[in-house]
Assembly symmetry: C2
Homo-oligomer: 348 residues x 2
Amino acid sequence: MRRVAARASIKDIARCAGVSHSTVSRALRGDRRISAATAARIREVAAAVGYVPHAAARALVTCRSAVVGLVVTTLADPFVAEIVAGVEEAATLSGYSVLLATSANEERRELAVVRMLAERRVDGLIVTASRLGERYGELLQKLGVPVVLINNQAIGDYASSVRIDDFGGAKEVTAFLLSLGHRSLAFVGCPDRPRSHSLRRSGFEAACSELGPEEVCWQTLLPSGQDDLERGAGGLEMALKLRPRPTALVCYNDMTAIGALLSAREHGLNVPADISIVGFDDIREATFVCPPLTTVHQPRREMGGSAFEMLQGLLAGQPGRDVLVPARLIVRSSAGPPACSAAQLHDR
Amino acid sequence: MRRVAARASIKDIARCAGVSHSTVSRALRGDRRISAATAARIREVAAAVGYVPHAAARALVTCRSAVVGLVVTTLADPFVAEIVAGVEEAATLSGYSVLLATSANEERRELAVVRMLAERRVDGLIVTASRLGERYGELLQKLGVPVVLINNQAIGDYASSVRIDDFGGAKEVTAFLLSLGHRSLAFVGCPDRPRSHSLRRSGFEAACSELGPEEVCWQTLLPSGQDDLERGAGGLEMALKLRPRPTALVCYNDMTAIGALLSAREHGLNVPADISIVGFDDIREATFVCPPLTTVHQPRREMGGSAFEMLQGLLAGQPGRDVLVPARLIVRSSAGPPACSAAQLHDR
DNA sequence: TGCGCATGTGCACACGTGTGCATAACGTTG
DNA sequence: CAACGTTATGCACACGTGTGCACATGCGCA
């Protein structure tokens, strides 16, 4: 029971100021019942001894830790990292701290993570695009603490969540391609992420449907592959074999689009002259790839921020909501008008 | 004083099992003095009531929180994010949790961060490439807790730290360029980050010096600009005006190299045929840029991991060390042999 | 039987903070 | 002058866990 780090406590301050520790506690917390003179003296002593309140002790008695847990799949993904940045910023602004945990989509890690967060008695939880989201009901029960999901992939639950408008974004970028004159399009999908995949696909189809099947020809490709990059390359290969050959690819996300882009380059195709390729997410790489990617922007930082604010609302007793964040079209140069090329005419 | 979340405590278990709470505490912690039968019964009851230990209460009495603070400048930088991932992984493996804090290199934020970490009574602190590192002595005193610095930019202190071998990496990539036949080189620097800048520059110069000034011509460019991208572009502009014109640019980091690359493209120059460009860091963008960047790899994840292990060592009473992490040359296609072109001959 | 020892358990306190209630001092009013 | 309200403070307990020490029990041995 030896004390390792001997920091001044309110009892020490009380002794120095000649009052009881309760008076110190109240004075430092700004209780108006303490006389101005006493409060001033106490604050003076506190500053003199370098008093730093002990969060754990306070948490013990108040049953509030002022800590939120943030569970992500992996921080290696810059997409996730920016969401984390948004959460951290908003949390700090409200006097909360962020306990970071990585699930890596592994069952064992997830279990350990939940256990850790339970032991630390976090006030609330934010979970991004993880499998954990699927079992959020279980989570809620286990931790007994409000949970907010970001870009949750589980279909059909009605937790509090912040999601990008997958449908609207995909529809908008597809409409953009149609307005450029494209009449044969393909969607390169990613069934691993069921919810956003089906929503983006629906948005793609909705835009095409508005012109009608006699006017425009569209279909969905589901290439297999280890990661998005591979699937993108596979999507391009599949597209090249289609007749009529698509003049534009709407890819599930930017990494898929970049995969398709690199593969197109290998096939000696010029983007966008020979084929237009668009993505979704607007990751940093989209700017540097050549040509820069036309895509749909997700305001990741803001999404992290509003997730925290929603969590704060839940903690204050407000009901949960399902917030849809609008997506914004970013026009760069990977999409252009379809070349009325010999190849294309020939294909017909 | 109403309890919000009523969780079972060891006292509840004690009541159910008909023992004292001390016995429960000892049994759950594996104290051998408790008889096997009692311990088994207690564990059974604990599982039945869904007991979850209260980390804050334990921290209060043991004076150890099993939490480390991790201070970063910004998570928006994927470079930083991967270090965070490495720290988190190692910490979790050792039963520690990570409290994340962003300083944004702003004085006010830093103050708030330190205050927060002090209140939470973190056991130790890891600081990455921040201005905070410069005042680590002050930090140490204020928090009274071991600190490990990653890629610290402050020159001349001897804290525990993990650093990439800036000198060795820059020397290796420069030697590679020389081996390709380049004889006129420029280093595009970034004086904002004094320590790594001067070390990389020294590595560059050391490699060149080995061939000697009569054999090879080299110099350092210090373009101004808002960010690395701009400085890279500026570096290229400056290089184009030099006589003899450098055939290869060694850039402070990948973002600078990418800036130079994009600018070269705008000037109608072919990389690497007209000019070779290499970077440092091996960020993800380096793979996707066109042509893919030859660069020096920093094992960020591993560096985060060893920073945590060092911190654990400090907590166990081991002395601080200054670990230099070897950098590895990554050959891609932004560097090639210098064209013995008309332009170059003409310039002489 | 008395003594010493090993084993198992409980008592009581500690950690630092917050708060309901009692109380003391003081001023106001009937 | 007494009753009462207001203001300022302290007492005592609570939160959940860990641990030094005392103590009870049982066993072996002189």
